[in-house]
């Protein structure tokens, strides 16, 4: 990392260029993340200064889209934070699934780990009244998520999570198929809708009973968090649930929700 010295003006210049050459505005993403992604991308592409990087952006749409793709970090692993999934499985889903129609939203989804973790657990209830809306930023995300297969490396990442799940005995309960082409062995009977959208441009009105929005706010600066959180709040029905990453906070929206467990970032939207 150290050979490439990238400073504030370089970072601003790169993301202004990306904004002008693509549909994506990363200006209000967290600075250190943006800076590191530039450095890593330049290293992998063997580009040694910012002028050359910008020249390459202007020469090739593919180069721009490769960089944009590089900025959307997928969720790290299936069943990340097993204690959260245990809590949802034991405390939230049984209550939620008493309703006839349940709408769940996973915004800013790129890799599918959250979708399949959710489908696995909802499948345990065999309820057909659930609709999961998966919204994603890049056109390619939909097919990737729909056809997502998992390999040994993915399994290695999540095997400890699986061991910590209550009522799931071993990885063979979770995966089916050949090594490196495994799928999640779920019995989810509801619908999954895919929508390409940018959360910052959406206007939602009390649509969802649960929003699973983990480890996405961390990539935004405080300004963008302040734009996105009210939209997330507006999207959730009164009495509905919001799940954030364990180190994310609600900021200005904290008065709208009640944290219902001290150790996990599970919030219930206040009725009044």
């Amino acid at each position: 990392m150290s050979e490439l010295k990238i400073f504030v003006p370089d970072v601003n210049q790169v993301y202004s260029e990306i904004k002008s050459l693509s549909d994506f505005d990363f200006i209000d993403y967290a600075f250190s993340f943006k800076r590191r992604r530039i450095i890593l991308f330049m290293k992998t592409q063997k580009v040694f200064n910012v002028d050359d990087l910008i020249y390459r952006f202007n020469q090739s749409d593919k180069f721009v889209s490769d960089f944009v793709r590089f900025l959307f970090v997928p969720q790290t692993e299936l069943f990340r934070d097993a204690e959260l999934w245990n809590y949802l499985n034991e405390k939230i889903f049984p209550k939620l699934l008493l309703k006839k129609d349940v709408n769940i939203h996973i915004p800013c989804c790129t890799g599918g780990e959250e979708v399949y973790s959710l489908m696995f657990f909802l499948g345990l209830f065999q309820s057909s009244g659930v609709t999961i809306t998966v919204s994603y930023p890049l056109s390619e995300n939909e097919n990737f998520i729909k056809n997502r297969k998992f390999n040994q490396q993915d399994l290695k990442k999540c095997v400890k999570n699986i061991e910590l799940l209550n009522n799931v005995l071993n990885p063979e309960d979770v995966f089916i198929g050949q090594t490196n082409q495994m799928r999640i062995n779920h019995f989810y009977r509801g619908n999954v809708n895919f929508k390409k959208e940018k959360i910052m441009n959406q206007q939602y009105i009390s649509e969802f009973d649960l929003v699973l929005f983990r480890n996405r706010l961390i990539y935004f600066n405080e300004d963008l968090q302040s734009t996105v959180l009210p939209k997330i709040n507006a999207s959730i029905k009164k009495g509905g649930y919001l799940i954030l990453g364990e180190k994310e906070i609600l900021g200005q929206m904290s008065g709208k929700f009640k944290k219902i467990t001290s150790k996990l970032s599970v919030y219930k939207k206040r009725i009044f």
Binding site: M1, F31, S32, V73, N161
Partner: protein, 190 residues
């Protein structure tokens, strides 16, 4: 030289004992910020911070995303997240891929801290079994901070300080006892 206000310590296998000794030695009125990036199992969330809190007179905590960095505090990188330091002196977290098989990665924190704290920082790499922290420690030097590596002869596992010395070129190679003294007298050392 500028005043050191921020100390970032990276450690892996064999570093926990030294870290607890450092925390034990820091007085209640220690005026600087200590940021610890210790390789840890991603599933062990409870107990780790508590174990360090017991040893410390300073408040010890895992920071939340975008939390402001305060003096007289000890911050520990949370399990399974990378910990960035932002130029506005706040923390930012990330779930990017592992670096040097680690999340949190010492390199990620040291490099961003080097950029954000410049010559107000001291970076220290302790015992460990891989090369995490070496590139970050070079960044500390490149951005004007002070870099220290634990003496490999004093480290339980020498690989990490050896890599840090080799890649960063630091000449500040200290035993664990001398690291503690160095921290306690930091602004009379510089």
């Amino acid at each position: 030289m500028s005043e050191i206000k921020y100390i970032v310590i990276g450690g892996s296998a064999g570093s926990f004992q030294i870290v607890t000794k450092i925390l034990e030695a820091l007085p209640k009125n220690f005026p600087h910020t200590l940021i610890l990036v210790l390789h840890r199992l991603k599933h062990i969330k409870e107990g780790f911070t508590d174990a360090l809190t017991i040893k410390s007179q300073l408040p010890v905590q895992e920071p939340f995303d975008k939390e402001k960095i305060l003096s007289g505090r000890v911050y520990i990188a949370p399990a399974n997240y990378h910990l960035y330091v932002e130029p506005d002196k706040t923390f930012a977290l990330s779930t990017e891929d592992v670096v040097n098989h680690s999340r949190p990665s010492i390199d990620v924190t040291l490099s961003s801290a080097a950029y954000s704290f410049n010559n107000n920082m001291l970076g220290i790499v302790l015992s460990g079994a891989n090369s995490d922290g070496a590139v970050g420690l070079k960044d500390v030097i490149d951005f004007g901070g002070i870099a220290v590596a634990q003496d490999p002869k004093d480290a339980i596992v020498a690989t990490m300080p050896e890599a840090a010395i080799k890649i960063s070129g630091t000449k500040n190679i200290l035993s664990s006892q001398n690291i503690i003294k160095y921290i306690l007298n930091i602004n009379s050392n510089v």
